[in-house]
């Protein structure tokens, strides 16, 4: 009897032990095993599944190109960089949890936030609490870094900003409008915060530079809407001289394919900020010619040897073409590498932030061959912004005109005052 009881007790203990081990294995063990490699671990919350998986795929590609080079050169103090990429599916609460897990469980010392906008705000709050270095590399929503209430000392942004695009694009559109007499405008943008704010800001600055512009029709298709027939018909009926669209990704591809059937692009001048990106170019059945396309990423913009080499290297190593997200993430990675050199490999959030604040980097993605992390609001400036005209074959964008940064910065200041961000 005694022996049976002791056997039972022992079996229970074994079961309990196994349960505890399983729980530790599931939740805690990766941290223990991976933390001992000595690598500098960088956590990357992003979207790897669903319709915008290309965002995560090409963001990680941009990071890898830089970190592989850094590691091949020996890293810093013998420590190499190891990326830990996690899929948040774009859900803010998942992004927050994934980011916390990357820091607490996977022992990541730096976060490169390759999330879309709403999840980026959730990541920002985690960083506010934990204080590691974070670079937001994809969120274009201006308030993330412009609004002082949201400011986090160790958080930066290398993604382009909506307000910068709006000022640069508005200036370009106004020049074309004056030259061609484009007075009546229609808009067609996705019905969510990015689409509405981007369009409002673009039209505001187009009107600022050309007072004759007036919006006669607004169309707000739902995000991920499959059928655009009604939207195209509405745009045709408006008989506008020009149209602006902030549609992007798969939505833009579907819209162009359907608009081509009605010859929409032959009947009016069209301005599309997200057109000239390889993610779109490669998917559209008949890429429209003569559409004014915003600068995202193109191997010919700038038409330099460095950019062509970067493109070739990216395609060779990542097996797909880079997108706008690729260069934004590549720049984020370069800031991390340079900051690590300055801190001698110390990944402390405050020290890294001090190193990055105000830092200017040599970069082929800058208008003057450099980009700068502006110290006053931890955001990137001097990157290439502009518009070109679309071609139906390589290089897909011609006559690219880069916007000058001085007026952008001046008007951005006025915009910040209007928003109450600065006095």
């Amino acid at each position: 009897m005694t022996s049976t009881e002791s056997r039972r007790a022992s079996r229970r203990q074994v079961l309990k032990g196994a349960g505890a081990l399983a729980a530790a294995g599931v939740i805690g063990a990766p941290a223990i095993s991976k933390a001992q490699t000595g690598a500098i671990k960088i956590g990357v919350p992003t979207i790897l599944s669903g319709r915008v998986a290309i965002l995560g795929q090409t963001s990680v590609g941009g990071l890898k190109v830089v970190f592989d080079k850094f590691n091949a050169a020996g890293g810093i103090n013998g420590r190499k960089i190891e990326m830990v990429v996690r899929d948040s599916k774009g859900a803010p609460q998942e992004a927050a949890k994934v980011t916390r897990d990357l820091i607490n469980n996977d022992k990541c010392e730096i976060i490169l936030d390759a999330e879309a906008s709403s999840a980026a705000f959730a990541v920002q709050e985690v960083i506010r609490e934990i204080g590691v270095l974070c670079i937001h590399s994809n969120s274009e929503t201006s308030s993330l870094t412009a609004d002082p209430k949201l400011h986090v000392p160790t958080a930066f942004r290398t993604a382009r900003q909506g307000i910068h695009d709006a000022i640069g694009g508005g200036d370009y559109a106004a020049k074309i409008a004056k030259a061609k007499g484009l007075k009546k405008w229609a808009t067609c943008s996705p019905d969510y915060a990015y689409g509405r704010s981007n369009t409002a800001e673009f039209m505001e600055y187009a009107k600022h530079f050309d007072g004759n512009i007036q919006v006669v029709e607004e169309s707000w298709p739902k995000l991920f809407q499959p059928d655009y027939t009604e939207v195209v018909t509405k745009l045709l009926n408006a008989k506008a001289d020009a149209m602006y669209s902030a549609l992007w990704g798969g939505d833009l591809v579907a819209f162009i394919d359907q608009a081509n059937l009605y010859g929409l692009f032959d009947k009016q001048a069209s301005f599309m900020v997200n057109l000239g990106d390889y993610g779109v170019v490669d998917q559209v059945k008949q890429f429209p010619q003569g559409v004014y396309s915003g600068g995202r990423y193109n191997r010919t913009v700038p038409a330099t040897k460095e950019n062509e080499e970067w493109y070739q290297n990216y395609v060779k190593t990542q097996k797909h073409k880079p997108t706008n997200w690729s260069w934004e993430n590549a720049v984020a990675a370069e800031f991390v590498v340079e900051a690590l050199k300055k801190t001698d490999g110390d990944t402390n959030g405050k020290k890294m932030a001090e190193a990055i604040k105000g830092m200017t980097l040599r970069s082929q993605f800058g208008t003057k061959g450099t980009v700068t992390m502006r110290a006053e609001d931890n955001t990137l400036i001097d990157y290439i912004i502009g518009y070109g005209v679309s071609l139906s074959k390589e290089p897909y964008v011609a006559d690219f005109q880069a916007s000058a940064w001085e007026p952008i910065i001046e008007l951005e200041k006025q915009w910040k005052k209007k928003q109450g961000y600065i006095s």
Binding site: P30, A91, Q93, A96, K97, N105, S117, S118, E125
Partner: protein, 335 residues
């Protein structure tokens, strides 16, 4: 009465176990996992009060999860409320909303009830998206949720936040338990099994369903508040139909006939999510396969299966005792 004290004792034990987690220095990741699980666990458990106990399949339960989250978040961001004040306000708002939505929905049954709750959820979701100046639209409540100290408690401290969430969670589970074991809870089951019979017995079926709907919504609202505290924000997808779908998955995974089934389902779903997300981006594929296996293989939740086996075993034992007694009696008569 003895059962009630036993349940309260078990709740106290559960709380003690939860509080031991930080005492034994569990890594922050485990605490985060538990806090996340507690928020979603309340969503699933409260939904099961409708689905499992009352037979009301709601497709829109996440609207109350979001209502609690937004009401709490907005109250805290206004700077005019303490945390307990905002907590009470958020539950009050959720209850009021549930009263209005429920008054319309509970008059319907089956698919009509399900789709009307879905319609209300999408209406609420679109209000969140559209009212950008108030709710932040699809960016959610930005800038963090302030957590001023109250009664010496500082929820900015992660351990204190964990303790606060644990207490709120256990209190909610204890309330749900008291509801389902009370005469009111048995009335809910009667309505689920045959609402005409319940009506003939003099029960005001609509009022009982409405009360259940409001209680369930309030518990979901507390889940939303816990998640808001955890992520320091509130986002529209808290109230999207996929969140309601997740809660239904949790109930399916854990089982709807055993009280803690949905909680087990929550743990399974969260574990599956956290494990798959670590190793692959095909999370949905893995979840889909597991759900298929459970639904087609077990045809019920693991806790339901265990409970059923336990009951079968108990009945088999009782039958064996009866058979042995009959045999003895027969032997006695033969002698």
């Amino acid at each position: 009465m003895a059962g009630r004290w036993r349940d309260l004792g078990l709740a106290a034990l559960g709380l003690l176990l939860l509080l031991l987690v930080p005492v034994f220095g569990a890594p922050p990741a485990i605490r985060d996992f538990i806090m996340f699980g507690m928020a979603y666990g309340l969503l699933a458990m409260s939904l099961n009060l409708l689905i499992g106990y009352t037979g009301l399949v709601s497709f829109g339960h996440a609207m109350f999860f979001a209502a609690g989250a937004y009401a709490f978040g907005l109250a805290m961001q206004s700077g005019k409320f303490s945390i307990p004040g905002a907590f009470v306000l958020a539950i009050g708002f959720t209850a009021l909303m549930a009263l209005i939505v429920g008054a319309i929905c509970v008059r319907l049954n089956e698919i009509y009830f399900a789709f009307l709750t879905l319609a209300f959820q999408m209406l609420f979701y679109n209000i969140i998206l559209g009212w950008v100046s108030f709710t932040g639209g699809d960016q959610g409540l930005m800038g963090g949720i302030p957590r001023p100290k109250f009664l010496g408690i500082d929820l900015a401290d992660r351990t204190q936040l964990y303790i606060f969430c644990s207490v709120a969670f256990v209190v909610c589970i204890a309330i749900l338990r008291q509801v389902v074991t009370s005469p009111f809870g048995y009335t809910l089951r009667m309505i689920r099994d045959n609402q005409e019979r319940a009506a003939f017995l003099g029960i005001n079926v609509i009022m009982v369903k409405l009360a259940c709907f409001v209680i369930s919504a309030c518990i979901a609202g507390v889940g939303g508040i816990l998640l808001t505290l955890f992520v320091s924000g509130a986002y529209p997808n808290f109230g999207f139909w996929t969140t309601s779908g997740e809660a239904i998955f949790m109930i399916l995974l854990g089982g709807s006939n055993v009280f803690l089934g949905p909680l087990v389902g929550t743990v399974i779903l969260r574990l599956l999510n956290d494990i798959t997300v670590t190793y692959t981006s095909h999370t949905e594929l893995v979840l889909g396969i597991v759900i298929l296996v459970l639904v087609l293989g077990l045809r019920k939740g693991p806790l339901d299966l265990l409970a059923e086996r336990w009951e079968n075993r108990r009945q088999a034992k009782a039958q064996a005792v009866r058979d042995a007694a009959d045999k003895d009696a027969q032997a006695g008569r033969d002698a």
